[in-house]
C-alpha cells in the first residue's frame, strides 16, 4: 500500500507542526506589528524620546525582530511568558491555576456534549425526516444561530434570577464536596455543553446521513439485515471517521463558548483572564493566553485527526 498507517499519521503530525509554526509566528507577529510598541502604552503620551529609548533598551525592543522572536520563543518554551504590563506579576503564575480551572470546565462540558451529540446526531440521521429529526434540527439550528451569551444569560435569568435554584457566579474556592461541585458547576457546564453540542449534532447528522445513503446500505437492506445490525455493522464503521472529524471541528465552538461562559459566570479561568487582558491591552498576558489556547486546540484537533485515521476501515485507506 502506498499510504501506510505510520506514514499517514506522520503526515498529519507534520501538518500539525506546520500549523504550530504558523500559530506561533502569527501570535508574535500580530503583537509586534504596531508602529508603536509597549513603551507607548507604558509611558503614555508625555514620554520623552530619552525615556522611551531607555525603556526600549531595557525591554530588548531595540534589537532586530528576528532576534526578539527567538528570545521570546525560547522563553515561552521554558514556560516564561514575561510580566503583565498591568501589575507586573509573572504571566505564567497568573495563568497556571486558571488554566486548570478552564480545562476542568471545558472537560466536564465535553464529557456531556460529545456523547449527547453523537447520540442525537446519529439517531436523527437514522430517523431522517421524522418529527424527531425535525425537532432536533430546529433546536440545534436555533442554538447555532444565536450568540453564546444569549443562552448563558437566559440560563442565568431562569435558574438564578427567577427560580433562585443555582448560583449565577461560580465560586471555585468553596467547592469541597461532590454536592458543592455539582451545585457550583451545573449551570456553566451544561450551558457550555449546550452551545458546543449544537454544532456537533449537525455535523454528526450530516456525516451519518451521508453514509446511510450509500448503496451498500441499500444492499444490506435487501439482504434482510435488521436495523440494529445495519447501523452497527454496516453504517457506523464507515461513518466513524467523518464523525470524529466533525467532533474535532466542533471543538472550536467549545473554545469560543468557554470565553463567553467564563465571563458570564465570572468563572476564574484563563479565558476570563484573557478578556480582561484584552480590555486593558495587556499584551504579554494576551500573547501567553492566546498561545496556550491555540496550542491546546491544536493538540486536540491533531489527536482527533489521528483517531480518524486509525478508525478508517482497512478497505478504505486511500
Amino acid at each position: 500500500m502506498k499510504n501506510s498507517l505510520p506514514k499517514l499519521i506522520g503526515k498529519r503530525c507534520l501538518a500539525a507542526a506546520t500549523s504550530l509554526v504558523f500559530v506561533v509566528v502569527t501570535v508574535f507577529a500580530v503583537t509586534n506589528i504596531l508602529p508603536g510598541d509597549a513603551t507607548d502604552a507604558l509611558l503614555g503620551q508625555n514620554a520623552t524620546p530619552q525615556t522611551v529609548a531607555a525603556l526600549r533598551h531595557g525591554m530588548g525592543l531595540d534589537q532586530p525582530i528576528f532576534f526578539r522572536f527567538w528570545s521570546w520563543l525560547w522563553a515561552a518554551v521554558h514556560g516564561e511568558f514575561g510580566h503583565s504590563l498591568l501589575n507586573g506579576l509573572s504571566v505564567a503564575d497568573a495563568i497556571g491555576p486558571r488554566l486548570h480551572n478552564s480545562l476542568l470546565l471545558a472537560g466536564a462540558a465535553a464529557l456531556i456534549a460529545v456523547p449527547a451529540s453523537l447520540f442525537l446526531g446519529i439517531t436523527s440521521a437514522i430517523w431522517k425526516d421524522t418529527f424527531y429529526d425535525r425537532i432536533v434540527s430546529i433546536m440545534t439550528l436555533g442554538v447555532v444561530s444565536v450568540p453564546e451569551f444569549v443562552i448563558a444569560t437566559i440560563a442565568v435569568y431562569v435558574f438564578s434570577v427567577r427560580l433562585h435554584l443555582l448560583p449565577a457566579i461560580v465560586d471555585v474556592g468553596s467547592v469541597h464536596s461532590l454536592g458543592q461541585f455539582l451545585y457550583a458547576f451545573f449551570m456553566p457546564v451544561t450551558t457550555l455543553a449546550l452551545v458546543s453540542l449544537a454544532q456537533m449534532v449537525r455535523m454528526t447528522r450530516a456525516a451519518m446521513a451521508d453514509t446511510l445513503s450509500a448503496s451498500y446500505i441499500e444492499m444490506a437492506l435487501l439482504k434482510g439485515i435488521g436495523p440494529v445490525r445495519l447501523i452497527l455493522v454496516h453504517a457506523l464503521p464507515n461513518a466513524l471517521g467523518p464523525i470524529v472529524n466533525a467532533v474535532a471541528l466542533s471543538l472550536s465552538s467549545l473554545l469560543g463558548g468557554v470565553v463567553v461562559i467564563e465571563v458570564v459566570f465570572t468563572y476564574p479561568g484563563i479565558a476570563g483572564l484573557m478578556v480582561d487582558a484584552v480590555s486593558s491591552r495587556d499584551v504579554p498576558m494576551v500573547q501567553a493566553c492566546a498561545l496556550v489556547f491555540c496550542v491546546t486546540y491544536l493538540i486536540l484537533t491533531t489527536f482527533a485527526d489521528i483517531v480518524t485515521i486509525l478508525s478508517l476501515p482497512r478497505g478504505r485507506k486511500a
Binding site: V146, D210, L255, G256, M274, S279
Partner: protein, 268 residues
C-alpha cells in the same frame, strides 16, 4: 452583473431579500427614531413600554427603541462591511488559486489552513488587544477571520466548475482567462457563493455580538446589539425590554437568514 445574479435559485433569493431588508432597516431605521439615541430622557431607568417610549428606557433612562435602531445600524453595517471584505477578497483568491499557477494555490492553501488552527474568537481577542476596538479595526479583524472560509468555499466551487468540460472547451478554443472566469466560472458559482456570504454574515453578527457583550467590541458612546445587552444586564432582574429586545433582534436576524439558507441546503 444581471447575468450573474439573474439566475439565483429561490433559496438564495430569499436570503438575499432578507439581507436587503436588514440593510434598509439599518440605513433608514435611525432616521425614524424620535429621540437622539444618546440623550437621557426624564423617564426613570428601566421603565416598561409606554406611548412616549414604545420599548421603555434603558439603565440610564434613554429611549430603548432609538438605541435599538442605532444598535441595529452598527451591527448590520459593521458585519456587512466585514463580510464584503472577507468574501470579495476570499472569492477572488479562491478563483485565482484555481486558475493560476500551482504554487499560488499551494501558498494560499497553507495560509488558509493556518487560520483554521486558530479559533476565530481567539484571533479576534488577540488582534483587538493590539489594534484596539475602532470600527476599522473591528471590520478588518472580522474580515480577516472569515476570509479563509470564503477562500475555501470559492476555491472548492470553482475547482469543481473548472474541471467541467465546458471550461476545458473554452480553454481549448483559446479563450482569455478573464472571459473564462467572468463568463464560465462566476455564473456557476454565484448561487452557492451567495449562500456562503449569508452564512459569513451570520458568523460576523455572532462574533461581533459576543465581542461587544464581552466589552471589547463596539465601545460607548456607540452602541450595537451586543453592547446593548451588556450595558442593560442589570435590567434582567426587572425583565426590561432594554435587555430582552436586543437579544430577540439578534436571534431573529441570525435565525431568519440561517433558516432560509438551511431549508433546502440540507444534504440529501
Amino acid at each position: 452583473m444581471i447575468g450573474i445574479f439573474g439566475k439565483l435559485r429561490s433559496k438564495h433569493d430569499r436570503a438575499v431579500l432578507l439581507l436587503v431588508f436588514w440593510l434598509l432597516l439599518a440605513l433608514i431605521g435611525p432616521l425614524c427614531s424620535s429621540y437622539n439615541p444618546g440623550a437621557i430622557s426624564s423617564q426613570p431607568v428601566f421603565s416598561g413600554p409606554s406611548t412616549a417610549h414604545l420599548l421603555g428606557t434603558d439603565y440610564l433612562g434613554r429611549d430603548t427603541l432609538s438605541r435599538l435602531l442605532d444598535g441595529i445600524r452598527h451591527t448590520v453595517l459593521l458585519c456587512f462591511a466585514s463580510t464584503l471584505l472577507s468574501c470579495s477578497i476570499g472569492t477572488f483568491m479562491g478563483i485565482a488559486a484555481v486558475t493560476s499557477k500551482s504554487w499560488v494555490e499551494v501558498l494560499a492553501g497553507r495560509v488558509a489552513d493556518g487560520f483554521l488552527a486558530i479559533p476565530s474568537l481567539l484571533f479576534a481577542l488577540l488582534v483587538i488587544a493590539v489594534f484596539g476596538t475602532s470600527t476599522v479595526a473591528l471590520i478588518m479583524t472580522m474580515g480577516v477571520i472569515y476570509m479563509s472560509g470564503a477562500y475555501r468555499t470559492s476555491r472548492a466551487l470553482s475547482q469543481s466548475v473548472a474541471q467541467r468540460d465546458f471550461v476545458t472547451m473554452a480553454r481549448a478554443r483559446g479563450e482569455q482567462m478573464t472571459y473564462i472566469i467572468v463568463q464560465e466560472i462566476l455564473p456557476n458559482i454565484a448561487g452557492p457563493m451567495m449562500a456562503d456570504i449569508g452564512l459569513r454574515f451570520i458568523y460576523s453578527v455572532l462574533l461581533l455580538s459576543n465581542l461587544s457583550f464581552l466589552g471589547i467590541g463596539v465601545q460607548p458612546p456607540s452602541v450595537d446589539l451586543g453592547s446593548m445587552v451588556r450595558e442593560n444586564m442589570l435590567g434582567v432582574v426587572y425583565g426590561s425590554p432594554a435587555m430582552i429586545v436586543p437579544v430577540i433582534v439578534i436571534a431573529v436576524l441570525t435565525v431568519g437568514i440561517n433558516v432560509t439558507l438551511d431549508s433546502h441546503g440540507r444534504k440529501d
